[in-house]
């Protein structure tokens, strides 16, 4: 399979690699030992593979790896790069907003985008932004609470 050369910014660092055109973004990130974006439903419905590309959440399972060429990719692993958890991450902990944790990075990234665009989100804003993230452990009440706590901080 022919390889394609791509250059992009990954969590603030310029990187380049070669990848086959059929690979998705989750597979690309795994090559960089980043496992926080997880392919689960494979249809862009559960949000477990959420990654920010140029600050917008995308479903990594439906996003071709080659599309990030020239773009900036942010994964959950970047949020505590300076050693401290983000406000959103700390709020998820304080509110007990997860159980098994498999979907958590996707929710955390989506909440980052939500709060960037709506620093004081209404209940409608919260469910609108998070309706593309599913949690089988159903920590939804605690997640909604965590969003509100993070917004207040």
């Amino acid at each position: 399979m022919s390889m394609q050369n791509i250059n992009f910014t990954l969590n603030g660092q310029a990187v380049s690699t070669e990848i086959e055109p059929h690979r998705n973004l989750v597979e690309l990130l795994q090559r960089f030992d980043l496992f926080g974006a997880r392919e689960s439903c494979g249809q862009g419905l559960c949000g477990c593979c959420t990654v920010l590309v140029d600050d917008k959440a995308v479903s990594g399972c439906l996003y071709f790896a080659t599309w990030v060429d020239g773009k900036s990719v942010t994964t959950v692993e970047s949020l505590d790069a300076n050693g401290a958890l983000s406000i959103v991450q700390q709020a998820f902990i304080d509110c007990g907003a997860f159980q098994c944790g498999f979907c958590t990075p996707g929710f955390v990234l989506m909440v980052h985008q939500l709060l960037k665009e709506h620093p004081n989100p209404s209940d409608d804003d919260i469910v609108h932004y998070l309706s593309g993230n599913l949690c089988r452990c159903a920590a939804y009440p605690e997640i909604i609470e965590a969003v509100k706590v993070a917004a207040r901080r």
Binding site: Q43, C100, G101, R136, C137, A138, E142
Partner: protein, 755 residues
Amino acid sequence: MKQVGRDIPRLEVRAKVTGRTEYVHNLRLPGMLYGKVARSTVPHGRIRSIDTRAAKAVAGVFRVVTGEDIRKLIAEPYYGPAFHDQPILALDKVHHVGEPVAAVLASDPHVAERAAQLIEVEYDELPAVYDEVAAMQPDIVVHDMLKPAGTFADLKHLKGRKGTNVALDYHLRRGDVDTAMARASRVVEHTFKTQQCLHLPFEPFVSVAEPGDGTLTIHTSSQTPSFVRTEIARLFGWPENRVRVKVPYLGGGFGAKVYVKLEALVAALSMLVRRPVKIALTMEEQFYMITKHPTTFRIKSGVDKDGKVVARACEVFWNGGAYADIGPRVTQKSGFTAPGPYDIDNISIDSYSLYTNRTPAGALRGFGIPQLVWAYESHTDLIARELGIDPVEFRRKNILREGRPQASGTAMKDAAIAEVLDAIAARMSWSAPFDRGSGTIRRGRGVAIGFKASISPTTSVAIVNVSADGSTTLYTSTVDMGQGSDTAFAQMVAEVLDLDSEDVRIVHPDTDVTPYDMGTLGSRSLFHMGNAVRLAAEDARTKLRALAAEAGLPENTNYPPAKIFKKRYGMQAGNVIGTASFVPTYKSPDAQTGLSDNVTPFWMIGGSGVEVEIDTETGHVCVTKLVNAADCGKPINPGVARTQLSGAAIMQLGFTLSEDMRLDGGQVTNVSLADYKIPGIRDIPPMQNVLVEAEQHSGPFGAKGLGESGTFGVSPAIANAIHDAVGVRITSLPITAEAVLRALRAQAGQPLEDE
């Protein structure tokens, strides 16, 4: 209590919010091959031929393996916890659509997947049976002969039985049902059905097998590492110590990942090719692995003139699908609770586990209890309505009180049934006036309560290791799949040894290192392993005191462990190992009567109250209030306990209102999250979750399990509320808008045409 009862965050919170949690999903090993499975396209058939030539010709394919290849490695390649009925890859016959027929190995999973699609299998199709009641007749027989595993004494009599789909029949007789029914002032009978649905953990099934020098290591997303070791060793004819099973965190389990799932397949494949093999299922493939039993429950009650239930007859048919898995245990272990938490003198129960040509069914958050509660609490509500008695009052009149014998004959002990019912009624403001809506929006409310026995007899072993600096590590084979067991056990160890919970380290299941545990299932861990953990920590404390005495330190003083070690060994050296096993007592039900006076080590009690709004033009059901209450003993970590209750109830909300594996000619037609609707953030009603604290005297620090209790009451409470709102009774799950609209139109004498 300094540590137990504290609301501390889970130990692993940082890893979980930063995406660094260790799951098998992440694991890659040098030289590892990826396996993809070719699956049966027919529900029932004899395999005529398997043509693997096109698959083998795909560039990058390392090996294609069929059932016959595995038979050369393992003479009897059948596994299962109750029956040895499931082949690693299909042999001779297939029994359900999606059954694994062949596997392709390649370094690139995409290559393996493409090649698997090129495997051509020809079948001589056989007639198939899908319905549990139809399967009672031997017209179509799924398996030629029953093959009980021998693990369970009460299944042995089934060995070699032919010409039947009944994998287990359990019967209970208490009092004299016929006479009591004949004397009852009223006899009421109904039939209720539940649908096939499934767990769908977001980390789908994934296992990796890694062959060593005469050994095999299996990394697997499993709730039962000890069972996996025993069963894989049995298949290879090895001693257990040649098989090592390692389990990190799980991305959800809910009863799906119990016993052997992918482990036998990756083990066999890796032994054939002498390389590590990983198989990770897709979301779609999970629909062909394990599901929740569809059921038909015929329930009949005799009631006297005072509204006391005097007799109850229960016939339950469990649709177990193509392989028994743990279904026969569900049939019996849940079967004896079929009459509900009511004090009834005359009871008969007939509970049947049936083979059919569907995806196998096993344990799903309640081990069959939610199916039973659906029926007996809908039935109970209907009786109360017929008698014109308030449903809460009717329940109060009939519930089992502390010390009274349940159907099996086992007394209800530390079972807060009345307290749970009262908590729900209080939060529902049951005695206050209720707005019943008007026009096309009608409002109603309902309650339901259920109970469950714990699986028994089972064994748990724990090791507590105090190092020379006093830091402490706990070794158990309990799997933390999100329920918070690591944290709860750390709190128990810390309580006994006077540490901070956050400083206790938990070693995750690794059968080379961590001791035996029956499994993380059925809400058993907090009670069983919790007792073992407490005893192991107490053993370590006793040994530390002995060490202090050896070192010549005065008695009854609280020297820190580091000081004791230093004094005894002259430097930072040595260990203290505390260990304990916990096995509760148990008496097997009598083969004739089904009775036992010691059938469970503890009882779980849960219930829900619901308010709904029904749109009478569309049938749409909007749950406007959901109250869940459970007897949680003394909670070890109330915050985590409350989220368990809440999560279980929301999961059951999905099984009530939307989730349904639809079947057409044996094919499941909605195998994706796009077509199989699970609850999302828009589906969450206003909720209250109430922990009813009632000491479990035999539990560790008074605690008991509660991972399932939140599921019990949700479905019937909703059906009861719908009846209350609009006067129609839904008797089959799920309760879709269409089902409600059909019932409303039928009630109005204007039935909708059939589909």
